[in-house]
């Protein structure tokens, strides 16, 4: 087990296309780090560079105190779980898990001991004689994880391991992976495009976009304090609403939306937002912070009226879509509140959870 250190790493392809544009990341021993971002953001390339499957154009990658830039994958002492499992179709589950150990000339009894142990841990003992073809998606995923575990490597790498599973199984396997990491706390780098997966699994989440790291932080921190407009929009589902606005001083600092609605900035944020008075800004507010109104509101809550466009009941909550001066907005309301298309719905906006984004830099201020 080891820490992984990524220093000024660049990946350029022919024709000067940079997939990864000089990123820095320190991953400590036992940590579970998730790289998340939209497709083409460079997260998979980064993972493959750690694995040694892609050459590093510039910069250094360290694993456990050694620079591994020039070390071929088999000598890096890593294990990887692939999106489509990459199980050897002609080998039994046992042989699939044992292959890496056999190549490394482990004694037979040792191989058997390790495979049995991993199989027990992953609850696949009864599948050891089967071929991958005879397994379900979830079982294949377990075998792929087993193949990684038996090697007892310094680092686990996961490349979108749950993308090929159906929704229900994905949730279940997510828990399994988390459990596995609690059992075998090997340093783990996990790539996904699914922010929920990232939030639920990670000790720390690394949000990437266009080959750069937008923000690194614990899941809750990313949710509450996104650093950039991209992170604010990427983390959370349904996504945060972005409304063009201006800050005005109208007997207290207020946010004025394009349709003229004014909402007061909570007092504790007045100093922070003061300097941005008069600039073009964007108000970021999550749907869960735009809810139905109640008689007694806590301080900092402002009101606005929404003309309902579409109502989507989800069971535990209801999503209401409406527009503010042509910009689509989503709010989450109590399912017991009845409303329909065309009706006017008064909304309570919790300005304590507002985010203010400077349009010029796209940063959250």
């Amino acid at each position: 087990m080891a820490n992984v250190s990524i220093r000024k790493v660049v990946k350029a392809y022919e024709g000067d296309v940079q997939a990864v544009k000089g990123i820095d990341l320190e991953i400590v021993d036992h940590e579970f780090v998730v790289l998340v971002g939209p497709s083409g953001c460079g997260k998979s390339t980064t993972l493959r560079m750690i694995a040694g499957l892609e050459e590093i154009t510039a910069g250094e990658i360290w694993i456990g105190g050694d620079v591994v830039n020039d070390v071929p994958p088999r000598d890096r002492d890593i294990a990887m779980v692939f999106q489509n499992y990459a199980l050897y179709p002609h080998m039994s589950v046992f042989d699939n898990m044992a292959f890496g150990l056999k190549l490394r000339k482990f004694p037979k009894e040792e191989i058997k001991r390790r495979v049995d142990e991993a199989a027990k841990m992953l609850d696949i003992q009864m599948l050891l004689d089967r071929k991958p073809k005879a397994l379900s998606g979830g079982q294949r995923q377990r075998v792929a994880m087993g193949r990684a575990v038996v090697r007892n490597p310094k680092v686990f790498l996961f490349d979108e391991p749950l993308s090929n599973l159906d929704a229900k199984l994905r949730v279940q396997m997510r828990t399994e992976i988390k459990k596995l990491h609690q059992l075998v706390p090997t340093t783990t780098v996990y790539v996904t495009h699914d922010q929920i997966e990232a939030m639920t699994l990670a000790d720390r989440v690394v949000v990437m976009n266009h080959g750069v790291i937008e923000q690194v932080g614990a899941p809750q921190e990313l949710y509450h304090n996104p650093a950039t407009r991209f992170v604010a929009g990427f983390i959370g589902s349904p996504a945060m609403n972005f409304l063009p606005c201006q800050l005005v001083d109208d007997g207290g600092l207020k946010v004025q939306l394009a349709d003229g609605t004014k909402m007061a900035v909570p007092p504790q944020r007045v100093d922070r937002y003061g300097p941005f008075k008069g600039k073009k800004m964007t108000l970021g507010i999550r749907p869960e912070h735009m809810t139905e109104t109640h008689d007694s509101e806590k301080p900092g809550v402002q009101r606005m009226n929404a003309k309902v466009d579409v109502v989507e009941p989800m069971g535990m909550e209801t999503l209401v879509h409406h527009f503010v001066d042509g910009v689509a907005v989503c709010s989450r309301i109590d399912p017991n509140v009845h409303t329909g298309p065309g009706e006017i719905l008064p909304l309570a906006v919790d300005m304590n959870n507002m985010h203010l984004i400077e349009d010029a830099s796209n940063r959250v201020v």
Partner: protein, 299 residues
């Protein structure tokens, strides 16, 4: 199936429309069966006649009495005569060892090249894989004359070794093509997983690619076998003495002597020479067809 069609007529039909659709389909099915049967009969005339003739004595053949499509006194004498004929055994042995060597050489060349072209790559590998395919367009009948000279320099005229050298040129391009197709269809993650598991390239080829692409290897092997076993032009052009002849040339050239047509014997020889490919195809036809059509339907 047959039960259903027999009872369908008596059953009350829930809706006229459904019944007529079913009947139409049944008619189409029967027309297909009848036409296929006609084709099968036509297609099987030569092999059928081959067997029939091989069971006749020379006397019965030359008598020209009665229906030639049936045998009056079936006899295995022709087969027995061939089995005890040293020359025929010689042709058989020549064909077997030339084919075995051809298949081995061709498959080795094809697998190595296909692995390299589909996975490793080097400058110009794209050109090579196209070039390999183009060689298929230079048929043996265009090259047999210059090759006659070249075999002469090598001292291989009238030697079965000439065939061992030349037959791979017929088999390798297509075998390589099949193998490239199969190797390319193996997901890249599989070799990456093997790389991370600690496999070297030779290990990836031997322990992952060859077992996974086994159907393709079977297909390519059958192709190499077919080409080598049935080749006629090269052995006819380069082998002139009977003891070097392979089956095809041996039968066509050596068994047909002047006006004395021992047709029973010749047809028995044909049947015996055709048996190995027919046996192989009986068991492995599906692999071969899959290999043959895999590339074509993809594009």
């Amino acid at each position: 199936m047959s039960g259903a069609s027999a009872t369908a007529g008596n059953m009350p039909r829930p809706k006229a429309k459904v019944g007529s659709m079913e009947r139409q389909q049944r008619i189409a099915l029967w027309v297909s069966y009848i036409m296929l049967s006609i084709f099968v009969v036509i297609f099987l005339i030569p092999p059928f006649y081959m067997i029939i003739t091989s069971l006749k004595t020379s006397v019965e053949i030359s008598a020209q009495a009665g229906n030639p499509w049936i045998v009056k006194d079936p006899t295995l004498a022709n087969y027995w005569e061939l089995l005890t004929n040293a020359a025929f055994r010689r042709y058989f042995i020549n064909s077997v060892w030339v084919t075995m060597l051809t298949v081995t050489i061709s498959m080795t060349i094809a697998i190595l090249a296909a692995f390299s072209l589909s996975r490793m790559g080097f400058k110009g590998s794209q050109v090579l894989s196209t070039g390999v395919f183009l060689t298929y367009l230079v048929p043996p009948s265009l090259l047999f004359i210059p090759l006659f000279q070249i075999m002469g320099w090598l001292g291989l005229i009238n030697s079965t070794w000439a065939l061992v050298v030349l037959f791979p040129t017929l088999a390798v391009p297509f075998c390589t093509w099949i193998m490239i197709g199969y190797f390319s269809s193996i997901p890249r993650e599989l070799d990456e997983a093997a790389l991370i598991d600690g496999a070297s390239y030779p290990q990836i080829l031997l322990r992952i690619f060859i077992p996974v692409a086994l159907p393709g290897i079977i297909a390519a092997t059958i192709f190499a076998f077919t080409v080598s076993w049935g080749a006629f032009l090269y052995p006819l052009a380069y082998l002139y003495s009977a003891d070097q002849a392979t089956l095809t040339v041996g039968i066509v050239r050596e068994l047909i002597k002047g006006d004395v047509f021992a047709w029973g014997l010749i047809m028995a020889a044909c049947a015996m020479a055709a048996a190995p490919p027919i046996i192989i195809y009986t068991f492995l036809m599906d692999y071969y067809i899959a290999g043959l059509t895999a590339g074509a339907t993809k594009g």
